[in-house]
């Protein structure tokens, strides 16, 4: 079985969860004897040196079955490219590779309409789409987070979306939904990394039988076991320093603890991309860190380590007891949680979405109300002071899914069933049949 994995960026060019998982899957599938995976990962003007004159798809750094899609003219409003040449190049590539499965790990930089293009070019192929967030539903970065009231959004509608993005009229969201659903018609299966996403996507109108849960997984370097310690008062934050990751909530919790005189803890921040945060959020984080720097070393509670590579994770995790995940959005899966668990560190996490689904409060971690810095401060204080809590929670952690498990999960989706094949045949439109005949 030949599987084409279409990935938003190559994780070695631009870091991010979706591309990391896509690449892990590529590596996982490569280990299976009956599967021939091909990776088509996008690059854009963040890596201009990789663009070759007149080329639209190229190889990648001499690696077998890894290709770069050189994205251009991408319209984030409609999630499509304006380039006819790229559509033609993708079509030619599909014909050349002739995969049995086309698995889109994202559509951004390619275009949601490439799902339909793939279906038209390969009427018999199985097309799979993995939703790493809710970008099909939500034009506000796919976070389903109500921007003006900072609440989680459970339902998109033209008026509600217009309230989040007032520069766009309600009709545009009506069209966007039709546009997205039109292209998702071309897909045989939609997979999600957390089960709660199924409900939101089904409520939005995506056919239930198409929706399947397949966990994300990472192959991680061996972790160091956490040494016994008298006090479990070291916290760590890992991830991108953008609004929805909620670092600002964590810093406010630190300020609250400091204000009440509770100083017997430390926090290490690991991550980058602060430049992608909103001005307000960036200002708050930078002001806190600057203030912290002014304090005498002995009185500092927070240390900023900057970005990190995955190979550094065991060492960074070894310096903390708790992994704090204060995300403000639904958090579709949270790879950081897998990394923390792999290293035996319990999490203190927001009680929503993928985090609430994966963390069992009091069993393998602690949950606190989303966006509530006071509750987080109290939880951190409890984590530092309650005897035996850390040991109990650490003992409750289960090893996260391995890459092989993820690959096997997707393999089941790729194989589908006879009912899927029949449905595919029946759902082909007159136009598509006509075109298929011409071809």
């Amino acid at each position: 079985m030949k599987v084409l994995l279409v990935s938003l960026y190559h994780p070695e060019l631009v870091r991010g969860g979706a591309q990391t998982v896509a690449y892990e899957l590529f590596r996982g599938l490569r280990e299976l004897p009956e599967i021939e995976p091909v990776l088509l990962a996008s690059a854009d003007q963040t890596t201009p040196a990789l663009f070759k004159s007149g080329a639209r798809i190229t190889g990648f750094d001499g690696r077998e079955n890894e290709f770069l899609f050189l994205a251009q003219e991408y319209d984030h409003g409609w999630e499509k490219s304006g380039s006819a040449l790229l559509a033609e190049a993708f079509e030619d590539f599909l014909r050349l590779i002739a995969p049995d499965v086309v698995h889109f790990h994202h559509f951004m930089t390619f275009g949601i309409d490439f799902l339909t293009l793939a279906r038209r070019v390969l009427p018999a192929a199985r097309i799979v789409f993995t939703a790493h967030e809710f970008l099909t539903i939500c034009a506000a970065d796919g976070h389903m987070l109500r921007r003006h009231e900072k609440a989680l959004c459970g339902k998109a509608s033209p008026v509600r979306c217009h309230q989040c993005l007032p520069e766009r009229p309600p009709e545009q969201f009506f069209l966007r939904e039709m546009w997205m659903k039109r292209h998702l018609q071309a897909v045989d299966a939609v997979t999600v990394p957390s089960r709660f996403m199924i409900r939101l996507l089904a409520d939005w109108g995506l056919a239930g039988p198409k929706l399947t849960h397949v966990t994300n997984a990472l192959a991680m370097p061996p972790a160091k076991p956490a040494p016994a310690r008298a006090r479990r008062n070291r916290f760590g934050f890992f991830g991108q320093l953008v609004d929805v990751k909620g670092l600002q909530i964590l810093l406010r919790a630190v300020s609250l603890l400091r204000a009440e005189g509770f100083l017997d803890f430390r926090l290490e921040i690991n991550g980058g991309n602060l430049n992608f945060a909103s001005e307000e959020c960036r200002g708050e984080i930078e002001a806190f860190l600057a203030e912290e720097q002014k304090r005498p070393a002995a009185k500092r509670l927070v240390q900023f380590n900057g970005g990190y590579h995955q190979d550094q994770l065991p060492a960074l995790m070894a310096r903390i007891d708790w992994c704090v995940v204060p995300s403000l959005w639904w958090e579709a899966f949270c790879l950081v949680l897998s990394e923390a668990w792999h290293c035996g560190r319990p999490a203190i996490a927001t009680d929503a979405g993928g985090l609430a689904e994966r963390v069992t409060d009091g069993k393998d971690g602690l949950l606190f109300p989303r966006g509530d810095e006071r509750a987080l401060a109290e939880t951190m204080k409890r984590a530092c002071t309650e005897a035996g809590l850390w040991d109990s929670l650490a003992a409750g952690i289960k090893e996260p899914a391995r890459r092989e498990e993820m690959a096997q999960g997707y393999l089941r989706v790729y194989r589908g069933g006879k009912a899927d094949a029949k449905r595919r045949k029946e759902s082909a439109t007159f136009c598509e049949q006509k075109v298929a005949k011409k071809l």
Binding site: W78, K80, G82, S83, A84, A87, E88, E91, D113, F114, T116, L117, R120, P158, P169, P170, E171, F174, L175, M178, W179, R182, H183, Q185, T429, F430, C431, E432, Q433, K434, V435, K438
Partner: protein, 526 residues
């Protein structure tokens, strides 16, 4: 003794100037050397006073000039000409203001090296000018503009403008007549209508202002531009070329994204492979994007698409007519860019109406259209007549203006009475399905309406006049009314001209049994 000689003998300079103050002013201004000169040249024949009458009736006004004679030095009116512009095709636009509160403007004459034009004062549109009103301290429609169409090329140069008043007084302004492009001049004139501050209710006053002359001249001018724009359009074909069951003709203005949106939505319909798409691009600045999207759509959806780019904004009527000429089918679907199928099986349902309904029901028909909020926005159209109260007579009267209304606008989506198959006075051009031979026998859409509006009702009324009323069939579509294009001031100005033209063309017909949601004519009764 001859009177002149007698008067001369009795002439006293100081008395004459005292009794004829306008002459004193003229002498002071150097127009006459003396009162005597004035008397000899004009005053004598006019019978001017030379001395105080011996007996004057007390407490009464005594007229010294014969009835109808207005003596005195004619005072030029305060005025300004803001611009005189002309275009290569022969459009002439005049804009200015004049203080004619007491002495009405008779005409404005333009004298140029190679041509002249006389604007009748009564044919000029009058508007308020807050800046002039502030300076004059009085509320009055000082402003004016006019438009003429010479139907042949004009040249510019120094332009002498003479404003003549009813009294005979004249003002003279010298300025340069500026050449502008034809479309720019149309935009300028229509934008002026849109932005004008009319003395009363703008809905009525705007039409009244252009009715005497400007409206007709603009229609002729625009007609020329429309014909010229579609005379040799750029045409490119994407996909295959063959014979089709139907041709969707879409007139685009300013919003290229509707090409890929419509392609995506319509291509999901079974049977759409037997339909072709023809996009006529009325805004050249999106042409490149439209061509690119059509190329992509042919690839992604396998659709056959023709893109036509006229050499300017041809307007809705001319653009659709041009699209129809390129159609490779005998069924034309006039579709707005923001119209999409609302149900699966829409194409099959449309085919069934065409193939299975009696010919008269399928020659020309429309469909229920829905807003994005789910409510109905169109289930046929009917006509109303708006009348401005005629204040002088104390009654409702005046010329009246036709208004086109939609049945069921905002109604619940499943209102059976609105959705049933039936004849209607008209259907919207947002979606209209018509037999091509019938469409052509009617001469297609009228091209007199500027940019777009009323062509649909006009066509339906012509179909009715030719013996075939239009029908409404339950083939539901979405229509994001007003979101398919971009509106600019000239479009508002065009709407005024079109309202006037539609009323001029159809008022009598509509008043004869087609007025209101339940028209008197038998075929439209429930």
């Amino acid at each position: 003794m001859e009177p002149a000689a007698r008067d001369t003998v009795r002439f006293d300079e100081e008395t004459y100037l005292r009794l004829n103050p306008d002459v004193r002013l003229a002498v002071a201004a150097g127009i006459f050397r003396s009162g005597l000169e004035h008397f000899q040249r004009y005053g004598g024949p006019e019978g001017r006073l030379l001395a105080r009458p011996e007996r004057l009736a007390p407490d009464r006004v005594v007229f010294t000039a014969p009835p109808g004679v207005r003596r005195g030095t004619l005072k030029p009116p305060a005025c300004a000409i803001d611009m005189v512009k002309f275009s290569p095709a022969g459009g002439v636009f005049l804009h200015g203001w004049v203080d004619d509160e007491l002495d009405r403007l008779e005409s404005v004459d333009l004298y140029l090296p190679n041509w002249l034009a006389a604007f009748d004062g009564a044919s000029l549109a009058r508007l308020r000018r807050p800046d002039v009103e502030e300076a004059m301290g009085c509320r009055h429609a000082y402003g004016f503009f006019g438009f003429l169409f010479a139907a042949r090329g004009l040249t510019g140069g120094a332009c002498s403008v003479v404003l003549r008043m009813k009294s005979g007084a004249e003002a003279h302004v010298l300025l340069a007549a500026e050449p502008v492009g034809d479309e720019a001049l149309r935009e300028l004139a229509l934008g002026c209508i849109a932005g004008a501050q009319f003395p009363g209710n703008p809905y009525f006053d705007s039409v009244a202002a252009i009715a005497p002359m400007i409206g007709g001249q603009l229609v002729k001018f625009n007609n020329l531009l429309s014909r010229r724009a579609v005379s040799a359009p750029y045409v490119e074909r994407f996909g295959a070329r063959g014979r089709y069951r139907a041709s969707l003709i879409v007139c685009l203005y300013g919003r290229p994204e509707y090409v890929f949106l419509q392609a995506a939505m319509f291509s999901a319909q079974a049977g759409i492979g037997d339909y072709e798409f023809i996009y006529v691009v009325n805004s050249f600045w999106i042409a490149e994007m439209v061509l690119k999207e059509a190329r992509r759509a042919a690839r992604i959806y396998g659709l056959d698409i023709t893109v036509m780019v006229p050499a300017g904004n041809a307007g809705f009527g001319a653009a659709n007519n041009a699209g129809a000429e390129h159609a490779a089918s005998d069924r034309l679907l006039i579709v707005n860019p923001d119209v999409f199928p609302r149900t699966d099986g829409w194409v099959a349902a449309h085919d069934a109406v065409v193939a299975q309904r009696p010919e008269g029901e399928a020659r020309m028909f429309g469909a229920p259209l829905y807003y994005d909020d789910g409510s109905l926005m169109h289930a046929g159209m009917y006509f109303e007549l708006d009348r401005m109260p005629e204040l002088a007579g104390g009654a409702v009267g005046g010329a009246g203006l036709l208004r086109v209304e939609h049945y069921g606008k905002g109604a619940p989506p499943e209102t059976a009475a609105l959705l049933r198959r039936r004849r209607v006075p008209a259907v919207t051009g947002a979606f209209m399905s018509t037999s091509r031979p019938w469409f052509e026998s009617l001469g297609g859409f009228a091209q007199d309406y500027i940019f777009g509006h009323y062509e649909d009702a006009d066509l339906c009324l012509r179909s009715l006049a030719a013996g075939c009323p239009v029908w409404l069939h339950d083939l539901r579509l979405w229509h994001l009314e007003g979101k398919g294009g971009v509106r600019a001031p000239q479009h508002e100005g065009a709407a005024v001209v079109n309202r006037w033209l539609f009323t001029e063309s159809w008022k009598e017909t509509v008043q004869n049994g087609l007025l209101g949601p339940v028209p008197g004519r038998e075929e439209f009764r429930p």
